[in-house]
């Protein structure tokens, strides 16, 4: 089972590239939609579109360094839209980007099931780091619910799989 998840073919190991504009446009759109949609539809705040974008770029690029820096920048941008200090989401997304980029080298990330599991795990990781930083580093109140967080991670994973499929359409084989 585990071996089945590993990248074993050359096609799977092929490095695919996205248009350069997409690396700028997609994060900006993710931040904008996240901000606007949660304004008119408050439950939308359960989603984390920037995190999904970070995961996608990380597992697609398979570059831990690029994913770390990209995740940090995306997180800082997300922090800038909130009232909390810059760096909270930056740290979280940098860690997630590093792990996702590291796993992307070894795992077949084209499989939707794998994407679902990875996204579920990364969302939990992201929220766990966020909770530790906010509660213990910033000493601000933040709720953590063992019932809510898995649900939230599952929803993000489901939405992430759909978004990944949409973004795959823009891929171009090198």
């Amino acid at each position: 089972m585990i071996m089945a998840l590993m990248a074993s073919t050359r096609r799977e190991a092929d490095e695919r590239s996205l248009p350069l504009a997409l690396y700028v446009l997609v994060p900006v759109l993710a931040l904008g939609i996240q901000s606007l949609a949660s304004l008119h539809f408050p439950p939308f705040a359960m989603l984390d579109l920037p995190l999904i974008v970070v995961i996608y770029f990380a597992i697609t690029r398979r570059s831990p360094v690029g994913a770390t820096i990209g995740g940090a920048l995306m997180g800082i941008a997300q922090d800038a839209l909130t009232r909390q200090p810059l760096g909270v989401f930056g740290i979280c997304k940098a860690v997630v980007g590093y792990v996702a980029g590291s796993l992307g080298v070894r795992i077949d990330t084209e499989n939707h099931g794998m994407r679902l599991l990875l996204t579920f795990f990364f969302v939990l990781l992201h929220n766990g780091i966020d909770w530790v930083l906010v509660n213990h580093l910033l000493a601000e109140p933040m709720a953590w619910s063992w019932m809510r967080e898995p649900i939230r991670a599952g929803v993000n994973a489901l939405v992430g799989v759909v978004i990944f499929a949409l973004l795959d359409l823009a891929k171009s084989r090198d």
Partner: protein
């Protein structure tokens, strides 16, 4: 060394990124107090991000508004007329309420001015559109499309028509970040409207709004309104915040409770907000103008309401009502037009025999002084003599001991007053009250109409008597020397007990205190011969005279009313001597 970096490049980059951000966090957290403006570098980053992110947000927001406007302005017009009618009715209702509150507002302003209380009135507001949110659940913030260029500044209060929303945290050139009241880092000074309990409104971890650290109070009920207290120096006092949803104990501070609040403004559906940019300690000109208009409208509404009420009331008078209850002299002219909506005026009929209690005889309260009595009051004490067991008929009612001549007798049970008519004298009846004779022959005298003299000499033994009005009728005759004149009240009937010295000396005398209004003068028409008063055709209503109360607290001796006049031998001497003969009429 080179291989180390190349081998652990990824991890080193990660560590470097994390350390850099941790340092940045440490620098940012080192702010003097939460809520203070960010440092310049942080603000620059925020500004860049917001500048990059908000244009597409605004573009998307405008697109959404256009679509919504097209739908609501051209297609969704089904209930417009009904809503228009409802809104008009609501406007009328609100105008009435506003007019009624205008006077209270004026009074409150005057009182504040008298007491030197500094009130914060809203001078200027800037409307703004909400174009975005933070996008996360742990940061309850909004972005609006107005900033420094529009006159906004940090810590300005933001509200809607329903209630407060939050305050400005970061202000950029054309955008601002609003910190909602539901954010955990916000704080608003509030007061409960009914209990006047003060507290701090804060946001919870799950986005709920609560007033924390409130002393337990049973009077706090769900639905109570919560207003801003003005204690935070940001929000003016009296702005609506929300209502009490429930009260729950504070898990961290045992005796205290947390009041969960339902915000008045719908924080999850905000589209337009108002930013208060200027406040003052006196009402603005516009507010004063609005207040004056409200008062004028209130007066107009009251006048209109009174006109409507007057039109609905019946306008014609009842022609069948008694003349004295219908002041309209022309009512008879419309007698033939009387219909079902006639009304009888609520005027009491005129009394047949007016007295001091009759309407229109009582002076206005403003013309009277405290303790003033309208009728003459007899005050003092007097001795009364126990009356005879049976009344003596008029013709032969001499009860004096010697030769008293008494004419007529009327002994009434109520208000009998004994008097002494000394023999041989002719006393004026004006002092006949409370005459206490020590000797003399009792003479029962009558008081014919037109006369009021008492034959029997001067009175003696007056104790504390006060002048009293002269009776309109009645002559007391035959008062023998040392006679005792017994006058009964209130019918001004005199009962002169002609007796000689100590004629009734044997009878027990009781000293009484007299205090009360004198009875009204007997009308001439009502006076008649005591002989004829035995069975009056229409006896006047028995009026209660001054109440005689013995010193010992017991009731005064009752006087039996004569059952029927019985002829008796004239001049039964009962007194010792000098009793004049009865001169009955």
């Amino acid at each position: 060394m080179e291989s180390f970096f190349s081998r652990y490049k990824n991890a080193l980059v990660l560590i470097a990124v994390l350390v850099a951000q941790l340092l940045a966090l440490a620098v940012q957290v080192k702010r003097p107090a939460p809520g203070t403006p960010d440092q310049e570098g942080v603000s620059l980053i925020r500004y860049v991000v917001v500048t990059v992110i908000t244009p597409p947000e605004r573009w998307l927001h405008n697109v959404g508004l256009w679509v919504s406007g097209v739908w609501s302005g051209y297609f969704d017009l089904v209930h417009v007329r009904r809503e228009d009618a409802q809104l008009k009715a609501q406007i009328e209702q609100l105008r009435l309420e506003q007019a009624s509150l205008a006077e209270d507002a004026r009074q409150g302003q005057r009182l504040d001015q008298l007491l030197g209380l500094k009130q914060h009135y809203i001078y200027a507001t800037v409307p703004a559109q909400v174009i975005g949110a933070s996008g996360t659940e742990q940061s309850r913030t909004l972005y609006i499309d107005k900033g420094l260029k529009d006159g906004l500044a940090p810590d300005m209060p933001v509200l809607t028509a329903d209630g407060i929303v939050g305050r400005l945290r970061d202000v950029f050139d054309h955008k601002s970040l609003v910190l909602l009241v539901s954010d955990p880092t916000s704080g608003v000074g509030v007061v409960l409207e009914t209990t006047r309990t003060r507290g701090i409104l804060k946001g919870g971890a799950f986005g709920q709004v609560e007033v924390i650290n409130v002393s337990p109070d049973d009077r706090i009920k769900p639905g109570d309104r919560i207003l801003t207290s003005g204690g935070d120096q940001i929000f003016p006092r009296g702005l609506p915040v929300g209502t009490v949803e429930r009260v729950m104990p504070d898990p961290d501070r045992d005796p205290l409770v947390d009041v969960m609040v339902q915000p008045a403004a719908n924080l999850s559906r905000l589209e337009e907000v108002l930013v208060i940019t200027d406040v003052g300690e006196a009402p603005s000109r516009q507010a004063q103008k609005d207040l004056a208009e409200s008062e004028a409208q209130g007066l107009e509404e009251k006048k209109r309401a009174s006109d409507v009420l007057a039109e609905r009331l019946p306008s014609r008078l009842d022609a069948k009502a008694p003349a004295d209850t219908n002041p309209d002299p022309k009512v008879g002219e419309t007698a033939g037009a009387a219909t079902a909506d006639e009304v009888r005026l609520m005027t009491p009929p005129k009394p047949l025999r007016p007295d001091q209690y009759s309407p229109e005889t009582t002076p206005e309260a403003t013309e009277m002084t405290p303790g003033q009595r309208r009728a003459e009051v007899k005050q003092g004490t007097e001795d009364i003599v126990a009356p005879a067991k049976k009344a003596v008929p008029v013709s032969a009612s001499a009860t004096g001991t010697t030769g008293g001549t008494g004419t007529g007798v009327e002994v009434k049970k109520a208000g009998g007053i004994s008097g002494t008519a000394p023999a041989g004298g002719t006393g004026t009846r004006t002092t006949a009250t409370s005459m206490t004779g020590t000797s003399g022959t009792p003479t029962l005298g009558s008081r014919p109409a037109g006369g009021s003299t008492a034959t029997g000499g001067s009175t003696t033994g007056l104790t504390g008597s006060v002048p009293r009005p002269k009776p309109a009728a009645g002559t007391l005759e035959g008062g023998p020397a040392n006679g005792t004149s017994s006058v009964s009240r209130p019918a001004a009937s005199a009962s002169a007990s002609g007796s000689g010295a100590n004629a009734n000396g044997g009878a027990p005398k009781t000293k009484v205190i007299v205090d009360g209004p004198m009875p009204a003068a007997r009308p001439a028409a009502a006076s008649r011969d005591l002989n004829q008063d035995a069975a009056p055709a229409n006896p006047p209503a028995k009026k209660k005279g001054p109440e005689l109360v013995p010193d010992d607290g017991s009731r005064p001796p009752s006087v039996e009313k004569p059952v029927a006049p019985k002829p008796k031998p004239a001049a039964q001497p009962t007194g010792d001597a000098g009793t004049p003969p009865n001169r009955g009429r």
